[in-house]
Amino acid sequence: MIVDNFINLYHGFYIAGDPFNILLMVIGILLGVIIGVLPGLGGANGVAILLPLTFSMSPTSAIILLTCIYWGALFGGAITSVLFNIPGEPWSVATTFDGHPMARSGRAGEALTAAFTSSFVGAFFAIVMITLIAPLVAQFALQFGPAEKFAVYFLAFASFVGMSKEPPAKTIVSMMIGFALAAVGLDMVTGQLRLTFGVTELLNGFDFLIAVIGLFGIGEILLTMEEGLEFRGKAAKIDPKIVWKTWKTLPKYWATSLRSCIIGCWMGITPAGATPASFMAYGIAKRVSKNGKNFGNGEIEGVVAPETAAHAAGTAAMLPMLALGVPGSPTAAVLLGGLLIWGLQPGPMLFVEQAEFVWGLIASMYLGNIVGLILVLTTVPLFASILRIPFSIIAPVILVICAIGAYTVNNNVFDVLMMMVFGVLGYLLKKTNYPLAPLVLAIVLGDSAEEAFRQSLLGSGGSLAVFWSNPLVSTIMGLGLIAGLWPLIAMAFAKLRGNTTQPA
């Protein structure tokens, strides 16, 4: 089995190593870093905007381009955090804690080298894990019926409720809005129109790409405008000497690195995502490290920990997407939508039917991250200068890019209007602490989740007992329930402990 994987992977390298695909990697990484650096463009909506450009490519080339944009965006977040103290992406917030103080004391080059290298290590660890585990998970998932499938969706969404730092009721509302939007339009099972209220534009329902571009793109521009960004960046120069000097110090932090890799992989597979992973890794490193007191004043270990975890999580989010068809992050969700558009059915059958595609993709992850590390180390000053372009030039250009992106999804001007509505919604929800990721995931997965749910009920004649009918489905549902009710369980524990330690 494992040997088969290596043969497959070897074949994958052959596909990914094609000169055209390597070129796509370079383009993808560069675009991705730009996207990660610019406010208002991020991994998820950057990929969403560029998705229509790939409709004419072969699926393998297309996914290589798009995943490389994703890696690039992950790298790019670190640049803004270190140099400008502005996290380009939510998962780089923890990187600002020590990265920016380092830049202020003139060690920007060191901080960036440490950030990029740890990103690479984290991603690499996650890719190795995907190579070894994903085929096994997929094979296991082949025996899933509709009930098990629904249980996996349930687990994915329940862990959002349990893991996110937002109030559970808000997470649920956000998620259910996504499911409701996904349900609009033609019902695939009965062929009936629903929730369209006679509006012809709604016949085809809401496209998740439009939602992503609006929620993350326009919403982010409005937020940035409100905060009145002033860019006061530090200059950065990276020369080989600094890189070498930093690399020599990094092996000292292998324990932090390894711990962050594991945290990242775990958090990435369960769709909690890169952001909590980076905070968790930073927090634990701060507690464990002997330099813990110096964290926040420019400790290199404080850059290593969150960056490693964020990238491990961002990469590990691809595992459930490939093996189960359940994306672990909004960007993975957009990629999953891309698979559907290219005519591939995500899920365990992908490994059987589209082995070339899957292994080409996995091989491209290895190559893409190596290409990415080299590119970002050599081009940082260029990207730092992009950030110095004033927001009053960047903002309208990003608006135009979002509008073009929204239009090209279906060649429909109505979608551009919808994008604007989603943008305002995104601003409002973000300001009132409703998480956006579950909303996007629900729009993408809504139809499949509903189909699995209805098929299971159809088989059982409407009895919910089907979700507890065998050990496998019961286990997954049970895990889901624990994940979803975690806030309540944690509260109960806290109360119990509070009562024992300090009797009233």
């Binding site: 229509p52 450009l53 004419s56 109030p167 009721a169 808000k170 649920i172 509302v173 259910m176 809005i177 499911f179 409701a180 349900a183 019902d187 099972v189 009965t190 009936q192 129109l193 629903r194 929730l195 209220f197 326009i218 521009i221 409005l222 405008m225 409100e226 905060e227 009145g228 004033p390 009053s392 030039i393 903002a395 309208p396 250009v397 608006l399 135009v400 509008a403 073009i404 239009y407 090209t408 060649n411 001007v413 551009v416 209007l417 994008m419 604007m420 943008g423 305002v424 601003y427 409002l428 929800l429 300001k431 009132t432 409703y434 509903e450 749910f453 209805r454 009920l457 159809l458 409407g462």
Partner: protein, 166 residues
């Protein structure tokens, strides 16, 4: 959002906006329930009807919105949502952007994009006309060349483009 909003400016309270959002999501939930009931939300002869799944989705939205509403009402005043000045900043982007989007169906994408960038740069950015014009012409031209010429993806066009024969 525990951001320190500079000093004691005036503006809408966070609590009021939270209450408003909860009411809004509840309204949305009710619309979803209504829409599901009209197409049938029960069990038909051939299994669950079209509105079966969305009905429960709507129901959950309403229940959780109610929880959010109660939470917001019970919450002590938690500071400002944003200062009026900040909201003004937001509107200065939102209004031109909305007009931009509304113009696209009639004028295509190129002319409105040109206008948006010029207005933005001269009015908000206080740039001179030469630079603004250069950016405003350059950006749409770049997208015309890459998308329409290279990738052969058509973008919306209006009467001006038709006149130029593009």
């Amino acid at each position: 959002m525990e951001q320190a909003h500079h000093g004691a400016g005036a503006g809408p309270r966070q609590r009021a906006v939270e209450i408003g959002t909860a009411l809004l999501t509840m309204l949305f939930g009710l619309i979803v329930i209504y829409g599901s009931v009209i197409v049938g939300s029960g069990w038909g002869s051939d299994g669950p009807q079209a509105g079966f799944f969305p009905f429960y989705v709507g129901l959950i939205i309403c229940i959780c919105s109610l929880i959010n509403l109660v939470m917001a009402l019970r919450e002590a005043d938690s500071g400002l949502f944003a200062e009026w000045g900040q909201l003004g900043q937001v509107l200065r982007v939102l209004i031109p952007a909305t007009i931009y989007v509304a113009l696209i169906p009639f004028l295509g994408i190129y002319l409105p994009s040109f206008l948006l960038i010029v207005v933005f740069m001269t009015w908000l950015g206080k740039y001179g006309f030469p630079l603004s014009l250069a950016v405003a012409v350059g950006v749409p031209a770049f997208f015309y060349l890459t998308l329409e010429r290279w990738f052969l993806i058509p973008l919306p066009k209006g009467p001006i483009e038709a006149m130029l024969g593009l």
